[in-house]
């Protein structure tokens, strides 16, 4: 014990007289460890605390405070009481002591055993004896933290202080300038407001002392050491200012004043603050200022050039209106909402009758914002505006005017959030239903495309109002849409009509089943006009286009199972008549039928009903037709069915794969096993048509029977897109046959599909020895094919290698390196180098029909980055050691890889790769140039510093490429030159004259597309460094 107290005295001595700051921490550790108590410390400090030297006293208090900061939790209530009394006295002492006393008090405010009344007495002496704003930054922070701590633990006591507490705080923060402290002070002010402290007569003072910072203008120091953002300050201050309605009378005039400001951020902040406070205020708070606020809002929306100011202004108006809608009416006063809306309507309505003038839009937007605020508001606005809009539409004759009016109507009809929440309310538009419908239908019959498009949008919006449209309206709408599908050739209208039909069909499937689908069907099967001479009479172009539109329309409306049930048989019927040769369907039409089926599979709801249609009817039908076509092709020399064409069979693939990936896994597994038994054993029992020969062996066929072997792509669609939980039967046999087919067949679609199918299965195969031995076996075969110089199957082996490499790379399989290394080694092969280089594009990009996430493939995140980091060195090394004539393959591979990397990685890897990329720009191969430029361009938009040091080389190479013989290269290089103009001004200024001179030549280029890029780039370079430019 004696030793301990001696130790303590020593520590105190060294801290106070020896000025060794570390001793405070040692003392605190000692107390925590129980070696000595606070009481002993105070005793040991006795002499220093009573010293006549203020510096010594300060040092002693500092030690005590620092120790307390560590040990406040262990204090007893009596100790705290004594210490508080001590510190309160110290506040009256010499000014050098104050900071340390504050630190001690702050530590004590964190005590849980604070005796009753002590908080009040602490604050009283604080407010009385300390002038906060003459303290240093850190000490002011102590004061704010004390307040925050006490407000957290002693709320009741502080409230007992009444308005004095608020006054004390106002005095303390008055004049605060440091953003760090301001954040604390705003937090206190917010607590005062939100926890209902009595502000008494100091409400205005509290407002003044905080609102003087509004609107916040703060830009953090360049390296931003404290991490305080302008946004943070704005939000905390806004929480204070908008916290209580009692600030209303002060805040609203301030907002009106600040809205006059020229600074855009001040306007935005004011408008956002207005929106925020409107959600707290009531009518009585707003009443007096409504006219002023409305005038300012209207002016901002009418005159601004900035979309942000406009949209913020509109949401402020919305907030004001919804505040008024909430307010409770007095029996004797006017309806405040109506008074306000009357003013809004009066000021905006007359602009709506001038549809060719600029202010029609801001006016419409203001009215729409007000009407979106509440049901009552929308009712009121609609009643005032709709009749005149409809009447004007009927009276105007110019299409442009009508279109503007209709677009304004659309804004009002567009369902808002409020409208949906009041489901039981009658739609505000029900009074205008009939006239709106007649306007829409008349617009749909106009010949002006813009008008028709807008009309379809209004129709879509009307349909979203539950219960608004009546059965007859819907039927009429469907009739109009059908007419447009059949008769309207304009592309934009067609797209709009399909969108509209799609969303209406979701809500009213029955109308579409009875009124649209049969008409489309008739039109599709209408025989083209016979010319009589029996020659190739098929397809005048318009008939073709009509069929295309009908087919897309069938897809667009098929989202409900009931519609799917009606529409898909029509599409299947097209396929079978195409197969039999009746109906004169061209290949493109058949392909678009497949696209439509695919679209239906994508958008249909995943219900039992739809899934049965797809798995039990559509897929067997597709397989059956394809098989018939393939078998028919053999032997006799008659005309072949179009279904063996590559474009058509490839279009069937996504129909099947989307179905298997999306709809009902149990049914999908059934489809997969049927497909496997069809392809392996020739089991045709599930196909709708039974007339097939006995021994079908689709996978064993030699190249002359490509029409059968290419069907392997349909097998791929069935088995490679299943969810991973579904098992494929007869895996081993299947894989062996696929490998054989992919290595031996010479028909490109057949061997590529077999390779893809193989890869898709390998990607999902469970890990383990069997998988590894399988891969090793395949690898051996591939390598032996590639290594034997005379083998005719080089391309096939390379294709299989690339796809399997991709499958393994995606799932991070350890063996993937062996395969990719083989690919790297092929880059220097004189025969296969180019194909191998292109293989890297396949490796790094997403493939559409297999090995993607949609097919449930095992794709690890960031596999591209990983591949890049592991292999970029090999590539660079290979490039450096390759003979000059083979370097381009390496550059090509590199640009494929870099092109597919995410931008973040591109940026971080760029410094290392830049020399190589610049080299690639001067490589004579146009493909390499183009792919390098397209990889550079996005990087240039946000240039890393590594690029800036190489500017000279970059600019001269880019400028040289602007006169390349290939137009795509010229365009890409001009885009890059354009992007360079956005670099930091001081870096690119030296190049300005040179670039401007060089860009004069492409201004006179032979190709218009090149000229327009040159114009854009040169214009930007002219603005560079010029007044008013950038």
């Amino acid at each position: 014990m004696a030793a301990d107290s001696a130790l303590l005295v020593g520590l105190v001595e060294e801290f106070v007289s020896g000025q060794q700051d570390s001793k405070a921490a040692d003392t605190a550790t000692g107390i925590k460890a129980g070696k000595f108590t606070i009481l002993q410390l105070v005793e040991a400090l006795g002499l220093s605390l009573t010293s006549s030297q203020p510096q010594t006293r300060a040092r002693a208090v500092q030690l005590l405070s620092q120790v307390l900061q560590e040990c406040y939790a262990d204090l007893s209530e009596q100790e705290v009481e004594v210490l508080i009394a001590f510190y309160e006295n110290r506040l009256k002492d010499h000014y050098v002591i104050t900071p340390h006393a504050l630190q001690g008090l702050k530590a004590l405010t964190k005590c849980t055993v604070l005796p009753p009344g002590s908080a009040v007495s602490m604050l009283k002496s604080l407010f009385q004896d300390v002038h906060v704003q003459s303290l240093m930054l850190a000490e002011r922070a102590h004061v704010y933290n004390m307040l925050i701590n006490l407000m957290g633990s002693r709320e009741e006591e502080l409230k007992g202080l009444g308005a004095d507490f608020v006054f004390g705080f106002v005095q303390s923060m008055d004049g605060e300038r440091d953003p760090r402290n301001l954040l604390l002070a705003f937090q206190i002010a917010r607590n005062i407001i939100h926890r209902n402290y009595d502000m008494g007569k100091f409400t205005e003072e509290l407002f003044e002392v905080t609102s003087c910072y509004f609107p916040i203008d703060f830009s953090p120091p360049p390296n931003d050491p404290h991490g305080i953002t302008k946004e943070e300050l704005i939000l905390t201050l806004r929480a204070v200012l908008t916290g209580t309605p009692s600030f209303a009378e002060f805040l609203l005039p301030l907002i009106i004043e600040k809205l006059d400001s020229d600074v855009q951020s001040a306007k935005l902040d004011s408008l956002q603050t207005l929106s925020a406070c409107a959600s707290v205020y009531e009518y009585k708070d707003l009443a007096e200022f409504l006219p002023g606020l409305w005038a300012s809002l209207r002016r901002e929306v009418f005159q601004t050039a900035s979309e942000r100011v406009e949209s913020t202004g509109l949401s402020a108006l919305s907030a004001l209106t919804s505040c008024l809608s909430r307010s409770v009416l007095n029996s004797d006063s006017e309806d405040s909402l109506n008074v306000f809306l009357d003013q809004v309507i009066k000021d905006c309505e007359h602009h709506l009758s001038e549809p060719d003038l600029k202010l029609v839009w801001p006016s419409a937007k203001l009215l729409q914002a007000a009407s979106s605020a509440s049901y009552r508001a929308s009712y009121r606005v609609a009643a005032a505006v709709m009749p005149s809009l409809i009447e004007q539409y009927n009276n105007r004759t110019q299409c442009a005017h009508r279109r503007t009016l209709l677009e304004v109507v659309q804004g009002f009809v567009q369902p808002s959030k409020i409208g949906q929440s009041n489901m039981e309310d009658e739609s505000v538009l029900s009074d205008f239903r009939a006239s709106l419908c007649s306007v829409v239908f008349s617009a749909l019959t106009e010949s002006n495309a813009g008008l028709q498009v807008t009309a379809t949008r209004v129709l879509t919006a009307l349909a979203q109002h539950t219960g608004l449209l009546q059965q007859a309206d819907v039927e009429q709408a469907v009739a109009h849409l059908t007419r447009l599908v059949l008769g309207e050739a304009d592309a934009t209208v067609s797209v709009a009509v399909l969108d509209c039909a799609g969303s209406l069909a979701k809500l009213h499937p029955a109308a579409f089943i009875t009124n649209m689908v049969p008409h489309l069907k008739d039109q599709i099967f209408t025989e083209p006009m016979a010319l009589g001479d029996g020659s190739t009479l098929c397809q005048e172009p318009s008939q073709h286009a009509v069929r295309q539109r009908c087919v897309s329309a069938l897809a667009a409306v098929s989202s409900q199972p009931s519609v799917v049930q009606e529409s898909t048989p029509v599409l299947l019927q097209v396929l079978s008549s195409a197969h039999t040769g009746s109906g004169c369907f061209s290949s493109e039409e058949v392909v678009s039928v497949c696209h439509s089926l695919q679209r239906i599979a994508e958008q249909a709801q995943d219900t039992e009903e739809t899934s049965h249609i797809f798995h039990d009817i559509i897929i067997p039908r597709l397989l059956g037709l394809a098989l018939q076509a393939a078998l028919q092709g053999e032997g006799h020399a008659g005309p072949r069915s179009p279904l063996v064409e590559e474009s058509i069979i490839s279009a069937m693939v996504p129909v099947i794969s989307t179905t298997c990936a999306r709809l009902q896994p149990t049914l999908a597994s059934q489809t997969a096993s049927r497909a496997v038994s069809l392809f392996l054993d020739g089991d045709v029992s599930f196909l709708p048509d039974k007339a097939f020969p006995d021994h079908i062996q689709l996978l064993k066929k030699q190249s002359q029977y490509w029409s059968q072997s290419q069907m392997v792509c349909l097998l791929m669609a069935c088995v490679c897109s299943l969810p991973r939980s579904v098992e494929v039967p007869q895996m081993d046999r299947l894989l062996a046959e696929l490998e054989e087919l992919s290595c031996s067949n010479s028909h490109p679609l057949s061997y590529t599909s077999a390779a893809k199918c193989y890869a898709g299965l390998v990607n999902k195969a469970p890990p383990g020895d069997s998988l590894e031995s399988l891969i090793e076996r395949t690898m051996k075969r591939v390598c032996s094919e590639l290594d034997s110089p005379s083998s005719p199957q080089h391309t096939q082996a390379l294709t299989l290698l690339m796809w399997v490499a991709k499958a393994l790379l995606l799932r991070y399989h350890p063996l993937s390196t062996t395969l990719t290394d083989k690919l790297f080694s092929l880059l220097s092969d004189s025969e296969l180098g180019t194909s191998a280089a292109d293989g890297f594009s396949l490796l790094m990009s997403d493939s559409v029909d297999v090995l993607n996430r949609g097919c449930h493939a095992d794709v690890r995140i960031m596999y591209r980055q990983r591949f890049f980091t592991e292999n970029s060195a090999k590539l660079v090394q290979g490039f450096n050691s390759a003979p000059p004539e083979k370097k381009s393959c390496y550059l090509k591979a590199l640009s494929h890889i870099v092109n597919n990397l995410p931008r973040q990685v591109q940026l971080s890897e760029l410094p290392a790769l830049l020399p190589l990329l610049l080299e690639a720009l001067s490589c004579p191969d146009q493909g390499v140039q183009l792919s390098t430029l397209s990889c550079l361009q996005p990087v240039l938009l946000d240039p890393p510093s590594a690029l800036i040091t190489q500017l000279e080389a970059l600019v001269s190479r880019l400028l040289a490429l602007t006169s390349s013989p290939a137009m795509k290269v010229r365009i890409a290089s001009l885009r890059c030159v354009h992007a360079v103009s956005r670099f930091p001004e001081h870096e690119v200024m030296p190049f300005r004259t040179r670039v401007l001179r060089a860009l004069a030549a492409p201004l006179g280029d032979n190709k218009r597309l090149v000229r327009s890029e040159a114009v854009k780039a040169r214009g930007e370079w002219f603005l560079l460094g010029s007044p008013g430019g950038r």
Partner: protein, 159 residues
């Protein structure tokens, strides 16, 4: 755009913008030479910003495609523009912007003529004379303040 500032013509007529020029197969074909035509010149000037409004010259109908004449063989370009009101004080500025845009965007071989649509402006002749005078145009562009306004008209809008 300060709050209190009054615009000369606060509620002007606005016109529809024409769409992007449609691409044809010839545009993609390396071997076909695309001549510089009226539409191309119009595309150059239609997106110039109005000095007063956040609208383009096309939306205010100050420039129209029918008032653009180009002769690729004879290397001449003529543009007529129509101020929104006959006393528009911005007419010279608009003309200057059009002229500068064309100077920056066309090959040097072209002679560029920019003038006011006859009968649409009070001081038509004076403005036309200023715009036709090479030295005065050059001198105007030496003036930093003028150049600043012209550049603002020519910068692509980012808002």
């Amino acid at each position: 755009m300060a709050g209190g500032l009054r615009l000369e013509n606060a509620n002007p007529l606005i016109f529809q913008r024409s769409g992007v020029r449609l691409l044809t197969a010839n545009d993609e074909d390396e071997d076909v030479v695309d001549p510089i035509d009226d539409r191309e010149i119009f595309d150059l000037i239609r997106s110039i910003n109005d000095p007063e409004h956040p609208l383009s010259l096309e939306e205010l109908n100050v420039v129209e495609q029918v008032r653009v004449r180009v002769n690729d063989q004879e290397n001449t370009v003529g543009v007529e523009f129509t101020p929104t009101i006959p006393h528009c004080s911005m007419a010279t500025l608009i003309g200057l912007s059009i002229k500068v845009k064309l100077l920056r965007s066309l090959p040097e071989r072209f002679k560029i003529d920019v003038c006011i649509t006859p009968g649409t402006h009070a001081s038509e002749e004076a403005v036309n004379k200023q715009l036709a005078d090479k030295e005065r145009v050059a001198a105007a562009l030496e003036n930093a303040q003028l150049l600043e306004v012209v550049n603002q008209c020519l910068s692509t809008r980012t808002l």
